[in-house]
Symmetry: D2
Subunit: 356 residues, 4 copies
């Protein structure tokens, strides 16, 4: 019963099969192989962007930091939310990759940047003394499990353009947001004014592959050099390419995202039925919810794993509600959710649903 | 017939199996999994260094740049050879990771740094105006296929210590050098005065895993932070750990290195018999040799892949010798070598030996 | 009538005389001259810190960025206020000098950092994913014209030490704060737990000299290397040394600060008498105050120079109060203040008081 | 008798006068003053480049590092000689300012880069693995006292353009080279293909001012931001402007350079007459020459100051020639040269010539 992170889940068997298939004899190194070419083409197709710069890397932080470094200059401010992964969880990688750009962390309800906050922050800059206006970065789905509507994205990118800067979308959970919105990748990105995307795969069933997608092909070579200089050009690139190509074959990526979101919905509805409404409505594959201390104690005792953000767990009023975060990855099936809910409810626990 | 690079070779089947075994259910993210713990312990055991800081990354450039950044300060000079991979083939990654240290590229016959060259270069520094003395970095086996004897390493590290600095060993082909010398990892590193090692696996049958090994455990946390900040902390760390653990199980890593070196020896002896002596004696799994233009033309026409360092291939005296580099990875068997030699000799070609 | 900035004022004649005296024949370059030695000793004496690392630079941003880079590692967060000069007015110099540290800008009433805000910000950090805890930086006197009491400084530095980090004091207006508090430099710094000081001179009558003072002498050589690498080691160092030595001779620095603070008090009391109370009580040499639009129009028409932070100036209700900042440097005499007040009051203007 | 460096000399009295004149009342800060405007216009006039980006800084290293950072990207190689000031004497400032570019130090007889060495070094780069081709940097006059002929400059810049990169000229001793060649600043720079100049003043009679001149005005704003971020934007900019304006008034800069070169010629001819020919013909204001140990001992005993590059001074054959470097600044008059020569010759020493 692991709801700690979608990073804790396994790799989809079809991705493993693709790795095995790719492991045949010799292949050109450093991304000159046919699997990488296939993956790049599939991404371009998915985004309806036949000229886009697409480069594979192995971590989400690499994708974000490379994309931002390509959009920002060292003397820029990068506008993001105060809970943005790039600000809170990347150990200054964006600063390092960009040569010292400043992340301006703005207040954001439920992790969504708003024009009301963004406009004055951008308007305040401009003199030689302060940082200069640099890119805006938003996360979709957000770190709080919410999803920007297309209109919200368009409003933010229009504002960025008004000030002459570009917009990056951290898509570590791109697919989870996409299936929630029911739109196309193009609609959620360049048609809404997005300039660069971190297209995540690792959190959604891959072993470790993300793509940096920049829609202006003129930046492709710079991005490639930045990737190499950051030590993120893989010599045996075929194994990244094979994963990403499998991800985009026969809609596997969307199926996995749908499965994760559906498990989360099941979980949320079950908890709601027990009287535990989420802090805000989840729209992707994670939820923030308060459960009574005694419930947490039962869950932990039964081996459930997840982030508990308030405490202490061990001592205090059994009824005191404590905030936790629950995340479902593609592999969490209904059986696991049922077990979790049964324990939360103090009901008899169904038998284990297998490996997940 | 791919002799282009050991990066072009496949992953060993036992490593693939280990990946499949690790792909079971959920596991803690970011290297807190049991496969990573197992890999770290196996490396410490192999090096007889139970306290060493050991951190896995996915590329050799990451291992080198992180190790050097941990040893050097931004105002330092890093002493290396003019053909060092860190100088010629990492697109300024060491400069980037270290915050701007300077690589002082010294002349080196067959890619081996000598005290005669190193001493005056170190002695020349010291004032506030120039770069300060920073670490020495050597490559073992070298970029030219030679191997430092243990005495040679000891002499260089003693010189470094005399000037108060540390020594890094770029071991992208660590195993190939080790089996050539017939010594232990400890003898080739810390017992010879080495402070930090890039312990390569990717060129020797892994999908993409290297370890940074720093023998002073006090630097472990800094190294971990540097890795995260460089976006080289993998969320699904178990798949790095599983590869590396398999590598170090039942001597697989040494077996693969021996196979690669043996194929290279077979190739060299075959070419020598044809009258093509190597430029210098190869000691690991790669050779620099001059072959007549006509021979290159035949080989290329037959599909052989390798780096040709002189040209042009297409026009000129058929007898003119042109320099090439030939590399054998673990998967190049005797059959492939025989075919290559047959073509080089203008003999009938044996049938293809299978996938390699 | 220039109240725009203490940077707009002239150099004190005794400092000019010192430059002329130093301009005699040859002198050792790069700070090995006797004027620099004299200046360093005078600073150590003033701070009762005979071993302190003291290095002269020419700009306040250099002093701040070098001090912070010496205290922080690239993966650190630097804790400061949201209106800190280092955050708002240095075009990412602290990020650049430190190799990419993150400035965590905290809310602060009247520009003073409080333990209530600092403690949770520090407590939130610690995992490998986010930035690490780095130095705290406070400004004394603050960007808003307030001054930390000694107790307030001690509380903040104790909190920093509790978390294992150090505290920097941006003393661009060090002297103005000191004469306000009536304490000694030692009491305002190391005796209150401060580890590093940007000791300003430029805003207080020098041509362009500041000193970085780090009380731990072990960091002197690193600081010197950082200064050189940042291109802030002056070849003709004697002209920096001569200025700073004159500044610290016969209390010139304190006299200039007292004059500036006194002019500001005169100005504030005059405005208060006209019904224009300051936004908060000024404690050094600058004030934020709202004046009616018509008053601003009269002042600007009469040639008064200062920062108007609200607008527009030209159109709108003549009685609408608009926020401005007024700064007095050492050279602003009572005559200039009287003229300003007369114009503000709509009274006959006294004749010009001379060059200031 | 100081021949250690032109940095050891005093500031010209007319420059001091200009500082005093500028010290009148208030002036706009951060280079918005009229002295800076005047200086910039005078530089543009001198270079016949009315649109050039011209920004003042206070150190030669700042000028070089800012110019190079503007021309180079972090993944570039900067081509220079192995004895270039930027490589040997700036403590990695070019690496720091550029975000980690690599200085490729090429062998160069008498410090002059040659196309024979530059062409293959440039041709070798280009793949994603190595550094990319970045700017060429030459020093005029060179660190060895030689001067590039206009033809030599044109050949190098043409080669740079052939490879698509730009050329920087480190003009710490710009004036000394210019009066040697007898050409115009435009002829020595943009008419010869130079893109950016560090236009030195400090070594030639200023207190501490250099200008970065980039002939493409489109880079002016970036350069200004880089200057601020490097903490080299002076708040009291008028004192830089006043120095530089005086330097370019009535040919003062050329007069000082001529005086320095003339003193050096006198010195060289005197030494030649004593049998001590220079190592190569000096063309500016410094010479490398070998003098017998006994001569050095007499000179040092008499208080002469200069760099002795071989030793030891105290022990050994009195006739053994030891290499030294002698530099004349504008203030070294014939009397000082005569005294030096008399001591070198073992003749009676003329009385001291005054303050220099």
């Amino acid at each position: 019963m692991n709801f700690a992170s979608d990073n804790a889940g396994p790799v989809h068997p079809r991705v493993i099969s693709a790795l095995i298939d790719a492991n045949e004899g010799h292949a050109p190194a450093y991304g000159a192989d046919r699997w990488t070419a296939d993956a790049v083409e599939r991404i371009r197709d998915a985004f309806e962007a036949p000229e886009a710069a697409v480069h594979l890397v192995a971590t989400g932080t690499a994708a974000n930091a490379l994309a931002l470094a390509t959009l920002a200059r060292p003397w820029d401010a990068i506008f993001c939310t105060a809970v943005a992964h790039i600000h809170e969880d990347e150990c200054n990688a964006p600063e390092a990759f960009s040569g010292g750009a400043k992340l301006l962390a703005l207040p954001a309800p439920q992790a969504k940047l708003t024009p009301e906050v963004l406009r004055p922050a951008m308007a305040a800059l401009g003199s030689v003394h302060g940082p200069q206006r640099g890119p805006v970065s938003i996360t979709q789905a957000t770190e709080k499990g919410t999803v920007y509507a297309l209109d919200e994205i368009r409003t933010l990118t229009a504002l960025a353009r008004e000030f002459g800067v570009r917009t990056h979308l951290d898509g570590a959970r791109f697919a989870n947001a996409l299936v929630h919105l029911g739109c196309t990748p193009a609609e959620m990105t360049w048609k809404a004014g997005i300039d660069a995307v971190s297209f995540g795969g690792t959190k959604n069933g891959l072993m470790g592959v993300e793509a940096v997608v920049i829609f202006d092909p003129a930046q492709s070579w710079e991005l490639e050099l930045r990737r190499k200089r950051a030590a993120h050009l893989f010599s045996k690139g075929r194994y990244l390419g094979a994963q990403m190509a499998a991800y985009l074959t026969d809609g596997l990526w969307l199926d996995m995202a749908r499965a994760a979101n559906a498990s989360l919905s099941l979980l949320v509805e079950g908890l709601r039925a027990l009287g535990h409404a989420p802090e805000w409505e989840p729209e992707a594959n994670l939820v923030f919810v308060r459960l009574p201390r005694a419930t947490h104690q039962r869950l932990r005792a039964a081996g459930a794993t997840y982030h508990l953000w308030e405490g202490p767990l061990d001592a205090g009023d059994p009824e005191e509600p404590l905030l936790c975060r629950l995340v479902c990855d593609w592999s969490v099936g209904p059986g696991t959710v049922d077990r979790f809910l049964a324990i939360a409810a103090g009901r008899p626990v169904p038998s284990a649903p297998g490996p997940c």
